[in-house]
Symmetry: C2
Subunit: 453 residues, 2 copies
């Protein structure tokens, strides 16, 4: 019997496994190893679980282990892979079993960055990457913490801080940069800082965490920031993640940016025979710069899982491959209270790093016609290339109806449109939704003006 | 002195005039004739004025006659052009004046369709195209009408009906088709019908208006629909518009679809020397089919006005032309109460008429992750071409956060993307905004499945 072995039972692994199970005849076995108890869950939903908007972990599970098993997948939860033997074509589990495979799919996800600081392994210093991590935070809330410190102000940090404040817990966010949320330009980050402080969050910027003070039981009681101790019964690390690729690397598979496993556009691992990788554990590429990037997001993991399934099935069944993963344009969106924040494409520094000559403009506009009641404000920042006039990036911060405006920009960037092309796009207009020019086009017109002057 | 003469002082005419005034030296004269008292106003805002959301007509005026005059434009309000003499290069006004021109810009807008029915010229049977029309409706409201009938259920009809209901007036909408809002597919129109009835509007479909009953003073008192009289103190016609191009046609300028003046991509009128036209009075083309279409919308009028200004200035100053108007993809958006309705590209019949072989899919999805509180529903209908797999059209009906989703689709259609391309787009994802797949992509995946089966 031909065995497809998948390591990792979240978005990428399970979307690949499920699609393969549907497409492959019964003579093919699909085995999935998942070290946790959950499958196919939304890690992005953890902050909303912590906030109380989502009742329990199971609500974040798109498809349970039972459902996957009912669909014919040999799913082994609570089972971790500890070694990959590419020569013998076997994977060793933490139960000591050696499982042979014909096809290997590595979907081991990402792990939160835990800098090597004194006390970081203390109790109550938690990451938020898996549902297990989320459960640990929920359990910690049972102890009625008075003070939470969130280290880092990426979108996970931001969302977690909002969740704690919603629960009435004193919340401090510590950020080493001058402004929060480094995925957007500092000028927009200022607006986020303002909103955080307005919501009662203690935001410390330009602040270096030096370590964690633990009590006699080894539980965190404070965070040392620039020599001063901030009281904390609970610490959440929101410092970003790296690919969880130690297992793959130990087997000799190539890794790149932030440990991401290197694959081609079919998600085949470079230099390995019948080994695919997908999701937060892989390196991908930016469609504009063609440079490698590590971009762990569920939306990419699902697409890559789909690509893997297509290519594995094509390989096993001798059919033509149909799908490739074309890369990303770094689109991201989040919400802090009523403030919507989104971005796509390149920021100014990223554009420079990729040898573009960026022109950056920033405009203020309204989310509806100026005469409509209760107009919402938004700021749109746009990055274009001076030489080619290509649209390189768009970032939006604003009220309701602001964030999703980047979708049109993401599509325009993917299509290689210039800012002149964007000005002439036929985007939706009616008084409740925009002034005569869509906010993205108001910014594009400002860019045209800047390029022509 | 070289004179640029503009006929029409709304979006297209004034955006062209204003841009030309900024760009041309003082030796060039910019004269605008506007038959009404207002300039640069938002006709799209009239329903919100009638609803009481907007206090007065002046709020809908983006730039007043005084402001335009201060900027150096010779603006003559209350002055209508009555004849164009292309040979003498003169325009005659209703004051009997003959104005010479070097450059003529025709921006005469559109006029509501008024079918030749008994009683249609009665008092209280109103269109809604200009601010003057809007003022007439506002004045009619002073008479405290008990029953309003809206004839036609395009977006203007819909928005006006909502406005009347908001004022507590009994409102009937009469539509000759089986479902309202013909810009979307009937299956989506059903949802709009439901929402209208849910709001207390009497919606008559498959219903033919045969005429209007007038009282002894010549004021409307009823609408005859299929032999029965529906009481009405006020009737609003929402039957669409045609280009107001009689003046241009009488001068021998070519007209096409719905009377739209025929121009090239620089908005030069075909076959005429130094005559441009822009806005609701022109015919444009669909970017997908390359077929001519009349699509009167402020967003196109503004862009065309900009193109005219660029080309006129280039011509007069001997500089290279920079802008062309590339056409439209028929994007439209509206809102009925909480229901957002939008479309872009081609509908099924339009696709067939353009010799495509359309595959149509329709999906239901949520505006956020399924586990988030208060998810909003939306329906996305997608049209693709079987042979090329190109995305042809997208229509959305749903709650908050639904309507603007078409912007990404409009951009993808403009770029000529296939549904496979759309599936791989990097669109914004976070739990408050979408499930892992954006609604447009959920529909694109359904289309891929339909195309592959």
């Amino acid at each position: 019997m031909t065995r497809v072995l998948v390591i990792g039972g979240d978005a990428a692994g399970m979307s690949a496994a499920a699609a393969l199970r549907r497409r492959l005849p019964d003579a093919y076995e699909v085995v999935v190893l998942e070290r946790d108890a959950w499958t196919s869950y939304s890690a992005c939903g953890i902050p909303y679980w912590v906030a109380g908007d989502v009742a329990e972990a199971d609500d974040l599970v798109a498809r349970s282990p039972e459902q996957h098993r009912k669909n014919g997948i040999d799913l082994r939860t609570g089972t971790a892979a500890v070694a990959i033997d590419l020569e013998a074509r076997e994977v060793e589990t933490d139960a000591g079993e050696r499982l042979a495979f014909d096809v290997l799919i590595v979907a081991t996800g990402a792990e939160p960055l835990r800098p090597d600081l004194p006390g970081i392994d203390g109790e109550g210093v938690l990451g938020v990457q898996s549902l297990g991590d989320g459960q640990a935070v929920i359990d910690a809330l049972e102890q009625k913490p008075k003070n939470v410190v969130v280290v880092g102000s990426g979108y996970v940090g931001l969302e977690m801080a909002e969740a704690f404040v919603a629960r009435g817990i004193g919340t401090t966010v510590v950020e080493k940069a001058p402004v929060p949320l480094s995925i957007i330009e500092p000028s927009l980050g200022e607006k986020v800082a303002e909103a955080m402080r307005g919501r009662g969050i203690e935001l410390l910027t330009d602040a270096a965490v030096e370590g964690f003070e633990l009590d006699d039981d080894g539980h965190v009681r404070g965070v040392v920031v620039d020599g001063e101790t901030i009281p904390a019964d609970l610490v959440v690390l929101g410092l970003g993640v790296r690919a969880r690729s130690d297992l793959a690397a130990a087997a000799g598979l190539p890794t790149g940016v932030k440990g991401g496993i290197v694959t081609d556009a079919r998600q085949r691992v470079a230099g390995a025979d019948r080994v695919w990788a997908a999701g937060d554990c892989v390196e991908t590429r930016d469609r504009t710069t063609d440079l490698p990037i590590h971009l762990p997001l569920g939306t990419h993991a699902n697409k890559q899982g789909m690509v893997v399934a297509d290519d594995v099935a094509a390989t096993l069944l001798g059919e033509p491959n149909r799908l490739t993963f074309p890369g990303v344009v770094q689109t991201a969106i989040t919400k802090f209270c009523a403030l919507e924040i989104s971005r796509t494409g390149l920021g100014e520094q990223q554009a420079k790093d990729a040898a573009f000559d960026p022109v950056v403009v920033s405009i203020q506009t309204s989310d509806r016609a100026g005469y409509m009641p209760e107009p919402g404000e938004m700021t749109v920042l746009l990055v274009a290339d001076r030489q080619t006039r290509r649209l390189l990036g768009v970032q939006v911060v604003g009220s309701e109806n602001a964030g999703l405006r980047v979708d049109a920009a993401a599509t325009a960037i993917t299509a290689g449109m210039t800012v002149d092309d964007v000005v002439m796009l036929d985007l939706a207009y009616a008084p409740p939704f925009a002034s005569v020019w869509s906010p993205i086009q108001v910014a594009a017109r400002a860019a045209v003006k800047a390029l022509d002057s």
